[in-house]
Symmetry: D2
Subunit: 407 residues, 4 copies
């Protein structure tokens, strides 16, 4: 263990990573660089600086990554209408590769030979951090304290903290929530405790970002979303940056009770786990993006994307953002978005996101002269359908004839 000189720690300022900070210094006798990222989780980050200083840390990184996060990670993911296991919008998964990237960049800048993180050995996040780190720096050393130390119960952790003068009031930092939580601009998640029984309904006071549908306003609210190349670029006519749009959609969705999710998912490490999520803005984006694609994307291209989506979602969920296969799929996905331009109108009301209109001045493939039930003036020859059906049926007719002969 003595061969590690300097480690970059993904540091939230909370109890767990504070214990890790101290534990790294003691166990590895190494210098620690702290890295705290603003991904829009809605917490003060400056306290993390003070805490790090108290532990004698001299290289402290506190980075505002919100724009990069939404522009280069969240939006590209939504271009694929990405959903894991039919439900989950990958709010935690998509933030990890950015953190991995910054950990490696900071390791390079500070000539650190290791990185460290506070993810447990049971979860997906360790995989996401480490696969990303290895892909970006194959020789980096990785310290995952939860897989190494013996502080596996909360009591042991607290006693270690007290013994080493780590402020235990930190544990109340998250308002005393009994849940294991993660938050960034895309979502907030809850796991553990009460939720470990998948039969039990989540408690109403667990939810933090959204009001319940019951408490949402009685009046619906309409939003106009403008898309360019598959990304939302303007909201109600106002052009904004990616992270500004997501923040505003979170606010609006949260207000209307949009984006709660309660599910049991399959972790990459092999177990099922129950999680609750609030993804108000993302829920709106997904609906709206499908709607704009519905008029601007060719059928077979849309179906190709749908066929590939679960695989792409699994790659992100499993931590393969920085893999060559994710990049290959992204190349295809991004290529398809060149025509995904136009606007979508959605209505928010008590938990519902309802698409009520969509159009594209430049790229609509909806051709009302053909689709009409009225006289189309020859745009489409109904007689063509006879031949279309006949040839599509041919192989089945041959088989049925054989079948009849066999009887």
């Amino acid at each position: 263990m003595s061969d590690i000189k300097k480690a970059v720690l993904a540091y939230s300022g909370g109890l767990d990573t504070s214990v890790i900070l101290k534990w790294l210094q003691d166990t590895y006798q190494c210098e620690v660089v702290t890295f705290t990222a603003d991904l829009g989780q809605g917490e003060e980050l400056e306290p993390a600086r003070e805490k790090a200083k108290k532990f004698g840390v001299s290289e402290i990184y506190i980075d505002d990554l919100r724009e990069e996060f939404v522009r280069d990670f969240v939006f590209p993911m939504f271009r694929a209408n990405t959903v894991y296991e039919g439900e989950y919008l990958l709010g935690t998964s998509i933030a990890r590769p950015l953190i991995a990237k910054r950990l490696i960049e900071i390791a390079n800048e500070t000539q650190a030979d290791a990185i460290s993180h506070g993810a447990t050995g049971k979860g997906n996040d360790q995989v996401r951090f480490e696969l990303g780190a290895y892909a970006l720096n194959p020789n980096i050393k990785i310290i995952a304290p939860w897989r190494e130390w013996d502080l596996l119960s909360r009591e042991k952790l607290l006693s270690y903290a007290e013994k080493h003068g780590i402020p235990v009031e930190m544990k109340h930092k998250q308002g005393g929530s009994p849940y294991s939580m993660d938050a960034n601009l895309l979502h907030i998640s809850y796991e553990g405790r009460h939720l470990e029984d998948p039969a039990a309904e989540a408690e109403e006071d667990m939810w933090r970002w959204t009001v319940s549908p019951e408490k949402a306003p009685d009046a619906a609210e309409y939003l106009d979303l403008e898309f360019r190349n598959g990304d939302i670029v303007a909201l109600n006519g106002k052009t904004m940056k990616a992270h500004e749009i997501l923040a505003e959609l979170n606010r609006l969705g949260g207000k209307h009770g949009v984006g709660r999710l309660d599910l049991v998912e399959n972790r990459y490490v092999g177990m099922k786990s129950r999680g609750c999520y609030e993804t108000p803005g993302g829920t709106i984006i997904l609906k709206a993006h499908r709607a704009i694609e519905s008029i601007t994307l060719d059928r077979e291209v849309a179906h190709l994307k749908d066929d590939l989506m679960p695989r792409y979602a699994s790659l992100i969920y499993n931590g393969y953002w920085w893999s060559p296969e994710r990049l290959a799929l992204q190349t295809l996905i991004d290529h398809t978005q060149a025509t995904v331009n136009g606007w979508v109108r959605v209505k928010l009301y008590k938990g519902n996101v309802i698409v009520v209109g969509r159009d594209s001045k430049t790229d609509s493939l909806f051709d009302s002269t053909i689709a009409t039930f009225e006289d189309d003036k020859g745009a489409y020859d109904q007689k063509d359908a006879g031949g279309f059906i006949k040839l599509n049926a041919l192989r089945m007719r041959i088989a049925a004839n054989l079948h009849n002969r066999k009887k």
Copy 2:
């Protein structure tokens, strides 16, 4: 045209198929057998008998197919969590193969050499009827009047009707709805007119099966759904037949504003078309089925199903229910449902279907002793994760090393 002796007509009793009935008799000089199916569309069928008799039809079939429809078509489809283009629950598509099957059965019984239907040459339904019919009887003749005749405008149709004494008040049969509609136990659909502009919001008074979320009750309602082999077999503790369950879920969903959908879809014949759908019961089933699978299905089996689902959905949408490839996929899908047993609790509230609990006494793969954030007493060795990550990263590390050497 004179070589057709007898044709079985899919007959609703409405204006269009009444005109077709007469037109067939006149044009083909053939006997017509009428077939009217009760698929739960919620209309009186006996008037169809009277009308058919008026046209001199002597072989009249009016069949209650509701149980077969839900048990053998709707439920098998939901076992795959089937959704077309991310949204559409295939309410129209799934009814067509059953109608095709009955048309062929009746043709065999009545020694008819042809079948006929009222689907237009622009839509998917002609394809679904005819592919099904050809697959089941390769030598059947098919008459699709909309592709043959010149009554392509409403005026011409009405004038033909008046000329031949076909009661035109029929046109008000559907309450004078200006939409092209289709209904069965799974859904009701709307197309045409106002909806032909995808930018325009659907009018509130178009919807028939569901109240608007705004008008739904202020109190939520909880449902307990029991699954056996992937199908719902009991509702709130009461065992019911497939079609009874769907009818009851429609009632409950409709009451709570559940299951409205407004989308632009890609037809098999090549055009985009805007449709609105109400699928209250189906919307509940889809959510609940995913939830019961989430605890009873192996991860990789679930992902395999997710990967195949869009293909399976397209097969049904495109009319290939009776194809060998649909059957092959169904074999796989049904095989996976042996362990899909247990219950799901959902909450209906103003358009929302919220899963709040799920469990299985016999088949839950959720293992709280492993997933727990608390001490798991050795059920899972966190150190295993290190090797798991290292080997999964190996190929990317080798590539990154090569990349570094190249620089």
Copy 3:
């Protein structure tokens, strides 16, 4: 029919298209532009000019498309290791989109409003020509005489030819072969007659491009193939253009009896058909391309390509080269080829193409320090495998435990 002013005909100079030329002039009373392409089929093209002139054609196109064909169609296809139905290298399919493109270009240049071709109504080629043409010019008119006229038997065709002074000796142009044949730089194909019985062995004297393995030289021959970005750029150290390489590989493969294929394939129009093919150069390229990818492509990227390949192959077979979904897939495929650089050595011997070596100075991911059976000096920690296996097994162990409890 009178509304067509000028039609561009894909004209081989042979009997069939000469009859079509005349038939177009007579039936449509339109001007005809002839287009004859050199795709490396190995025939004199100038006679086509003389014949066209005899029919009074004034706009005659004879284009050498060999380089474009191999560079922009054949090579991109082989980047995907494309094989239809496990066997067929798509020699005919891949030439059609280029012909379609030139037909449309010439129609634009000559202000023609229609194109015409000699493909029958039973085959795939009509589909490939016409889908391509429609995709490139949605308003083009297409005349497919075989679907229109009544010259459906050889006798009728000959009698028409004689009646209109079309030299019937043309029918012996292909050496009197009784087969329906197609040739270009990638392959020559045979269909019809004797081959219509799939139980019957093809006759030895049918084959034209390859000697039989039995007659091939007794001495093997080694080839060194150099790849850049997935394409062969040099043969035995000599840099050549795409079409020159393919021609030389055809010569070498043909000499060694490489590339014969006898199969029953599924046509897009719904029937099975028996075909024999000679693809000597393509057979070598496929083997060599897989070999260079085996050391330069990431595992998961290679598997992604393998998963998508059958779909890509079907797109080409079915005539969707100019579709947006083929383009989207090509974008992914081409993206993956950036690292496919290096060389492959193959041995040709009596029908066999045997890969005997492969390497890449710049892009080999083969790392002998890790793969070695000898001491790897710590490059790979075998203990990691334990954790890798344990976590990959976890879901199956949980299921087995449940299974045991149920018993």
Copy 4:
């Protein structure tokens, strides 16, 4: 380590597993049960009994698994036309799940609490053995000595052997081959040494089962293969059991130089590795099975199988034979084989397997009356193709029109 009472060892009788036997006894102080399987590898197995006895083993299993191996593992795999990475016929992979199954069965019979094997920590076989074992007995303990001990070089192993009186002449048992080899009825494989340089050609005297194409007979040999439900049941008219057929095909293929393969493959543990394989019988089966399917399988079913095949192949390669997803896929695959009945004639000649005919009295979907180039007497209406093409082109025409308007 002291908690293991009895371990079942997969014992070949060779040096490595003999060292393991002794090492297990010494290290774990446990009883050892030996299990030696006859999978058709062509070696005397009785010597293994003598050796085991010498080490004091009292429970010795020597099982002839040849029929089960081919009938229940090899043949089901070939029903899917299974090939890994375009080339590899999975000869090693498919034997491992059977060995895993027997290890667990024997552990149950002998009340052993552990199993052990001689696979290294770098390869795929450890994964295949252990995933299989865990799936069949989730609580089994697994000892993988190569991942535990320090005998990682050949010298250390030999010195351990000499020290413990293990006959070192065993090392010459495989004729002194310098390669790491594996053999069973499906194939023999070679890895290591000279082959670790992928640029170097394999040496001719490495190959053991096949003559070189150069030394194969100058006269071709024809075989008639009869299929029932996708499996070969008779060879040249003689009905045989599965393993007898494979043995005979190996003899015939080997005689004619059929089935050599030299490739670089991607291991599940993350590295590329070079291997050479001889699979004479399997190479013939693959070709013949595709041929019988070509006339008896529906197009879309065949394409579905082709789309799923790479996934199925990876499952087997990666060791997931006993997983629920492999079983789900097998259910689909087996379902499709009900009509795969008939015969195929192949010609073997100097390394070539050439399909020269195929037919099925009961299940041929090849309909010469439709496919014919001659007059089909109305079996197929060529005019249908026009409508077929028009509707398939519609979406591309709409897009092209939009594209033109934009210009």
